[in-house]
Amino acid sequence: MASPLRTFVSAPTAVTATTHLPNEQSLARQILHNLQHQHYWTELQIHTHSSLTHAPLPRPLVSGLPPQRLYVHPDEQVELLKKADRERKARAAGEAGGLQVKVEPEREWILPTRLKEKWTLRRLAGVFDALTMVPPAPGPSTPESMREEDRSANPWRTTKRVLLATVDTDSTVVYYILHDGVVKPRQN
């Protein structure tokens, strides 16, 4: 008997006719499920076509909103800490409280992969070339929403990035951030 998860993963995809193979579609759904239920991501959706070129993506990709900010660039982190420090000094001297760094979560691209796959730089570059800087918001994309998306974009987000989700046969998923270009590491 098929479990609910199994039926979810292998459910036939929505009306959009794609050239993607069923295993690629089920892979995307498996990652989506993992993010939704194990990492509490929201606004998750599966993309089959590039919003830049409107051509089919190399494989279905997932986008979503994490509960906390996934990635803070080290320069942005320095800026945020300075800002938080100024705010702490501005507060009344008697008031307790340390540094309060507030960062809004950002929408992320997720690239679902299987561990046994082989990749090449060409394919990786192809994925990045088909992506926008920030994934589009769910719902019908109107010019207004696109513009709003641009305006709210973080000025520190200057290189494309995807979350590489790699799933093993035992359904363990590991996540790595993949930047397009030379991006210095976080000082954590």
């Binding site: 990492h39 996934l70 990635y71 992969t113 299987r114 561990l115 796959e117 082989k118 990749w119 090449t120 730089l121 060409r122 990786l124 570059a125 990045f128 979350l163 590489l164 790699t166 590991v174 996540y175 790595y176 951030i177 993949l178 930047h179 397009d180 270009g181 030379v182 991006v183 210095k184 590491p185 976080r186 000082q187 954590n188």
Partner: protein, 382 residues
Amino acid sequence: MAAAPAPSPITEPFTISLIAGRYLLFDVDVIAHCRRAHNICGLLVGTIPNLSQQNVFLGIPLELMPEEARVLVDRDAAYVVDDAQAHQTSFAEMSREERLKYMEEMDRRGDEVSREQREMAERRKERALREKGLRRKVLERENSVAESFAESTATDETFQVDDSSVASSGLGFIMKGSSFVETPVTEEKTQVDYGSLSNSDLGFIMKGSSFSDSWVQIKAPKIDSPAAEASLFEPTPASPSPAPSVGSKRSKSVAVQKHFVTPTTSYPPLPTPAKDPSLPPPAVPNSYPLFRYLHSKGYFHMPGLRFGCHYNVYPGDPLRYHSHFAATGLAWDQEFDLLDVVGGGRLGTGTKKAYMIGGEDPEVDAKDKDPVRAFSIEWAAL
């Protein structure tokens, strides 16, 4: 803090020695210049044979990665010289004048070495005498010996016609400690003095002083004595006084052991070899495009063995900065395992780096945009 010494200027292009398939730099100034002006660190590999050391204790030569050599050659900052070949052809084509000049230079250096050795021996002797508290006395004695020696030779000259035993007393100089009853008082005195001197010389030998040292000390009278003998048996004492002085002079110059210097480098003696256009540029692995790309952005590189990658990439001099990337260069269509990405990403994040893979797209024209693309990988902490 004391100001750093002004760097000696390097004229580009400089030479990179290709020896046994390795690219080496032998000049400290060139090494410093590479690091300062070209962001090229290389790796010092000079060590004691059969007792190789960890990297902090190594000296010149500096070994360059083929990628580093290639970058320098492509920038026209350097050119590669096949050292073995250049050495053989240049020495074969050396003119007679050059050869003589070179040998003279080697002779001069040999003299320098022997002079230094002699001075060192003198110093050692003085120190040892001072320790025994003999220095002043001996100096005085030496003076008196020199005087009395001159006297005695003078008297020898006068005595030589009627007294032949003096000649044997001259031999007594060699046989230390032998005394002749019938020798004149002055002779007796000098002989004893010499005996004490040579005894102290013997003491030197016992103490394990170097061979050349003792050789100098003992040889001096040995060489001197035949000269003295020759002067003794001269039938006509035409020039009595110069003979001993010449002898002593000769003893001084000859007594020092001659040094022959074998040069350890091919240039200075040879002029710096010219660029050989037939020599191909350094062969590089397919990770080179990534190296070139990162180097053009001002990054420094170190070998990546310690982090399981091709290059450790530093944003500045590795002595000042922590490395930013563990980079692996790949061909555009070279397949890689995702497990390698996961492993590299995890190790990089654990060591405050990002893992990087990159390569050159062969279909992109370098004039339009950089054909090299790099991807930085960090753990997502999910």
